[in-house]
């Protein structure tokens, strides 16, 4: 039990949440404005972008890891940035994984909000910026669900995180990569504790989504 109070253990947990929350946050704040543009646009290009985003949702995470590795490795296009095996590249890779999901889900969940309440908001004299802010508030439960789903997609990712982070102790070691490593070493105690934390996280995420959808139904 003392193992979970060690600084190594706590730094692994802290890094996991920092990386995944940062990636989710970036994915959501970039997906929301783009979703508004896509929802309100009448062009065919907007529809193509949505279809493309839907398609990208099914891209395997390791493929994203591979692309990131190739682009950011020493001989890669952005190798000069020296981001390989740093938490920054882990955030970038997780962002790329979460972005198509958050974009696609934001478009589909905010579309009814924009078309139904949007007209009411405009009719009450809101400016374009006031309208967007009000729509964000009106779609707050939908957006929270999107963020939770995005987070749950990236927090459990192993292969991709291992490829771009390198699982360096004290620097890029996160819960999933530690579980994989410690299990292979036969060191089950730490793996089990980390597994429990991941499991509790997953259960909490599901509980949150359930509570949000319940509130949505009530209203």
């Amino acid at each position: 039990m003392e193992i979970i109070l060690t600084s190594d253990f706590l730094s692994i947990v802290a890094l996991t949440f920092t990386v995944s929350l940062s990636a989710t946050f970036l994915a959501v704040i970039s997906a929301v404005p783009l979703s508004f543009i896509l929802i309100e646009s009448k062009s065919k290009f907007a529809k193509i972008v949505v279809v493309f985003a839907n398609g990208l949702m099914s891209v395997p995470a390791v493929v994203i890891g591979l692309i990131c590795y190739m682009v950011f490795s020493g001989s890669g296009f952005l190798g000069f940035l020296n981001l390989l095996y740093t938490p920054y590249l882990m955030v970038i890779a997780q962002f790329l994984l979460a972005f198509p999901i958050t974009l696609s889900m934001t478009v589909s969940s905010m579309k009814p909000v924009v078309f139904s309440v949007g007209e009411t908001i405009v009719s009450l004299g809101a400016s374009e910026i006031q309208k967007k802010i009000s729509l964000l508030y009106e779609g707050r439960r939908q957006l929270a669900t999107v963020a939770i789903v995005g987070f749950s997609r990236v927090v459990g990712e192993t292969g991709m995180t291992l490829m771009v982070g390198g699982n360096i102790k004290g620097q890029t070691r996160v819960m999933t990569t530690t579980i994989a490593l410690e299990t292979m070493k036969g060191n089950f105690e730490i793996a089990v504790y980390l597994g429990i934390i991941l499991l509790i996280t997953a259960l909490l995420i599901n509980l949150l989504i359930y509570l949000l959808s319940e509130r949505k139904d009530e209203s």
Partner: protein
């Protein structure tokens, strides 16, 4: 403030929804738009309320040209939708939303007075999404009023409302015109409401103004374009039970009506207001009557179809619905009559008009 539009046209794809509409409202008067479903009333109101751009044409507020991008012009208008969608927050927050966006000083006395008059003062803490249709409409009217608009646009404000809500809103609208100097545009299917409100009445059909009249002069003759509407006039007995009125049709079936009249009266069921259903609608509102298609009188985009429901009456059905339901002469269908879609005339008044 007067509102004027010139040569408004609206096209969606190849379909012309509005054709060359020009109109002018009197200052602090009520302009009523009437016409069958699909005639373009809502489209025109949304354009006049600066919510949608027209394909062509111009809009003027006191002879100054305005458009949807002009936020000041938009803030002179307020719109009450036929099916209001309220914000996902409390009724009070909904009511003050528009006023806040327009930087209007919020006085608690005004909120109390408006919500009291509309009978929604007990709902202020409720989430607006949990309200009934009639309550939502009254809240939407309060939201619009709190914005202190110069031009108030009401899209079928009495649609699907019970008698109690209708009366409250009727009084409120007249009060607005007379004491708050508000120019009002409203659409309605109801001849009796046009008679109450229509300082000027425009009748739309297929995106065009086909007639122009006033509350003093309006009669069924203004609707001759609907093809022989006289066939849907019946002499009935109106009975009151608890707070509701019922008309007893020639086949003995009772249908709910919104009226203060009792005893023998005439009713007119506008062909466009009869909903034709392939299956019986078990919902509480209105009344479903089993019927049979007798004849297709006019085969057009809006089809004029004669029905036998134990008595003969005409209905107007959009071609799309007709095709989707696979209708043909002899087929059994259900006719749904909503209480607010039936015009009731005292027998003597009616005789005078015809």
């Amino acid at each position: 403030m007067n509102l004027r539009c010139e040569n408004i046209c609206q096209k969606i794809g190849e379909k012309e929804i509005l054709k060359d509409i020009s109109l002018k409202t009197g200052e602090n008067k009520i302009l009523v738009l009437m016409g069958p479903n699909g005639s373009g009333k809502t489209t025109l109101l949304k354009i006049l309320g600066l919510l949608n751009y027209p394909s062509s044409g111009e809009i003027f507020h006191n002879d100054i040209k305005v458009n949807c991008r002009d936020i000041e012009a938009r803030r002179r208008c307020a719109f009450v939708f036929q099916n209001p969608v309220l914000l996902d927050r409390t009724v009070l927050q909904n009511i003050i939303y528009g006023a806040k966006k327009r930087n209007i000083e919020l006085k608690s006395k005004k909120i109390e007075s408006v919500t009291g008059m509309l009978g929604i003062d007990h709902l202020l803490k409720r989430n607006a999404k949990t309200l009934s249709g009639g309550e939502k409409k009254r809240v939407m009217i309060a939201m619009a009023i709190m914005c202190e608009p110069h031009i108030l646009i009401l899209d079928e404000p009495f649609e699907n409302l019970d008698l109690f809500s209708s009366r409250i809103i009727e009084d409120f609208i007249l009060n607005l015109r007379d004491f708050k100097s508000t120019t009002i545009l409203m659409s309605t299917h109801s001849l009796s409401q046009a008679r109450i409100f229509g300082d000027a009445i425009l009748i739309l059909n297929r995106g065009q103004i086909v007639d122009e009249t006033t509350k003093e002069d309006i009669s069924l003759k203004n609707f001759d374009f609907l093809k022989n509407p006289g066939r849907n006039i019946f002499k009935v007995e109106i009975k009151k039970r608890e707070n509701y009125s019922f008309a007893i049709l020639p086949n003995g079936i009772e249908i709910p009506v919104l009226t203060r009249v009792e005893g023998i009266a005439n009713i007119f069921i506008p062909p466009s207001n009869i909903v034709v259903l392939a299956e019986k609608d078990e919902s509480k509102s209105g009344r479903c009557v089993k019927s049979r298609i007798v004849e297709i009188i006019k085969d057009d985009e809006l089809m004029l179809v004669t029905m036998d429901a134990g008595f003969t009456l005409d209905t107007l059905i959009p071609r799309k619905s007709f095709d989707e339901m696979g209708l043909y002469p002899g087929k059994e269908v259900y006719l749904k009559f909503e209480e607010d879609s039936i015009e009731v005339f005292k027998e003597d008044n009616f005789e005078k008009e015809h």
